[in-house]
């Protein structure tokens, strides 16, 4: 079995003042997995992922990257391994232009100028930032600023991408850009960890779902299995996508989770298939 790219062992985090944000979390994430983390506000999701690039240090427990203990490493050293895209781009962006923002990360990692240029061109094209290159990041609207935050991590090409609520405040067009980004990262072999409330993202884009509640991981599995588990979802006030709920109400066999559909397209092809018979 391949070495997990990230391994979390007995992780506990207590904030100054005594608030316990994580209690005994254990996880393994394999290379190239696309993982979603869900849970209510305050369940510990962001605290957990901030340990993956050393933005937070464990109160107790260990984090391993490719088998190595990350405790001795600085945020700087971890940044080429794990890129963290903030929920709020204002906490992340600081350069005077979008272009400078995109160049900063890879240059800091010692990437050649030629390679930097290529990565920036790629990112500008993918995120549709052509018109914004010379703009100050704070002079552009929040949704696009958020894409700039993603693009500036994308040019660093970290092995692990962490996206914290990437579709919050986005409309359908920029949301689709985020979904395309995750699918492209999958093709490029990156590992993606997505903290999100966006149920469509979690149902249609990720391969594995981790559910958190009260500072603990309470479930970890395939999106289809998690979204079929009514009891689990309602225990933490999560609502499946509307189409999933419809398929759940329509299915003939209550116990058959293969009759649960995660997207409109999936449901549609199932109906077509059963009609063709």
């Amino acid at each position: 079995m391949a070495t997990p790219i990230l391994k979390v062992e007995n992780l506990q985090h207590v904030y100054p003042g005594g608030v316990v944000a994580l209690r005994d979390v254990n996880l393994e994430i394999k290379p190239a997995e696309i993982v979603g983390i869900i849970g209510q506000n305050g369940s510990g999701k962001t605290t957990l992922v901030k340990h993956f690039n050393n933005l937070l240090k464990p109160t107790s427990g260990k984090i391993y990257f490719n088998g190595d203990d990350t405790a001795p490493l600085t945020v700087q050293q971890m940044s080429k391994n794990v890129g963290y895209v903030y929920q709020n781009p204002n906490q992340q962006l600081f350069a005077r232009t979008v272009q400078a923002e995109l160049e900063f990360g890879p240059r800091n990692l010692g990437v050649s100028e030629e390679e930097i240029k290529e990565r920036c061109e790629n990112a500008v094209e993918f995120f549709g930032l052509q018109e914004l290159r010379e703009k100050h990041p704070y002079r552009i609207g929040f949704p696009l600023r958020k894409l700039v935050g993603m693009a500036s991590i994308y040019t660093m090409k970290p092995a692990v991408f962490i996206l914290d609520e990437p579709t919050t405040g986005q409309d359908n067009v920029t949301t689709q850009t985020v979904y395309r980004l995750i699918r492209r990262l999958r093709e490029e072999g990156a590992t993606v960890i997505c903290v999100a409330h966006d149920m469509i993202l979690l149902a249609e884009v990720v391969d594995r779902l981790i559910v958190m509640r009260d500072s603990l991981v309470i479930a970890d599995g395939l999106p289809r299995d998690i979204f079929s588990d009514h009891k689990l979802l309602s225990s933490t006030h999560l609502i499946p996508p509307q189409i999933t709920e419809l398929s759940q109400r329509m299915r003939k066999n209550e116990a058959d989770s293969s009759q649960i559909y995660l997207s409109v397209d999936e449901y549609l092809s199932a109906v077509k298939k059963s009609r063709a018979k």
């Binding site: 849970g39 209510q40 506000n41 305050g42 609207g141 949704p143 919050t168 405040g169 986005q170 409309d171 359908n172 067009v173 920029t174 409330h197 149920m199 006030h237 999560l238 609502i239 996508p241 509307q242 189409i243 709920e245 419809l246 109400r249 329509m250 003939k252 409109v264 449901y267 549609l268 109906v271 077509k272 009609r275």
Partner: protein
Amino acid sequence: MDRKPIIEIKDLTFSYTTKTASEPAIRDINLTIYEGEYVALVGLNGSGKTTLQLCLNGVIPNMTGGDYIGTVMVEGKDTYDTPVREMAKTVGMVFDNPAFQMSQMFVAEEVALGMESLGVSHDEMHERVPKALQLVGLEGLEDRSPFELSGGQQQRLAIASALAMEPKILVMDEPTSNVDPIGKEEIFSVAEKLNRERNMTVVMAEHEVEVIAAYANRVVVMDKGRIVFNGTPQEVFSHVEDFHRMKLRLPQVTEFAYQLEKEGVANFHGVYPITLGEAETAFKDLLG
């Protein structure tokens, strides 16, 4: 029953002067909203929803300048020459990021802040604060810090602050974008309760079309600064192909029904289910 117009917008076009040579943010807006309606504004970012909302309490043009043509009448007052502080008594505003609106040490103070600027007496404040908190289900949290609250609670606190000024109209700009699913439900149902029980007029910009279909009684769709559709959720969400062209999402069950019809599996005669309950009934014979 006679319906009483509470907002009347006539031939409104507005451009921000800071964006020189750019297109107007909203143009040729004609819209009448009646007292007690729950109106959802739908559109991509940049389609003009926020600009239109800022015209409802006179922030545009009184605090944010620009080229302003047309009239906005709210409760018989022309927002063009009514002070914003006066409008605040009629129109309560709630924005997308509640933490951004919080400034006080205690929840009760947060609720009282707006009233202070309106010159409400102390005795009156003592009556209104618990009432407003109770309306949004935050009673008992008076002495907490706003920053200790969850995202959904913070947003409900922002609503309570607006309610304490006893507005007739509640305007909300993507109020659920920063909260978890349960928080979203809380906010939508508080707005629905205020609308139903107190006949409050609600104007809410939102991307969550499934929830809009369940709660709103009118949907206004904006595209590139113009109003392109205005009707009941049923009427508006039946324009499936226009939604596709504008790159807007439809409720999943509506999209599903449309696709089934396109495949020749069903015929809805242009009237698609828009809520889970409707879909369940519509699909019972077909898929059950």
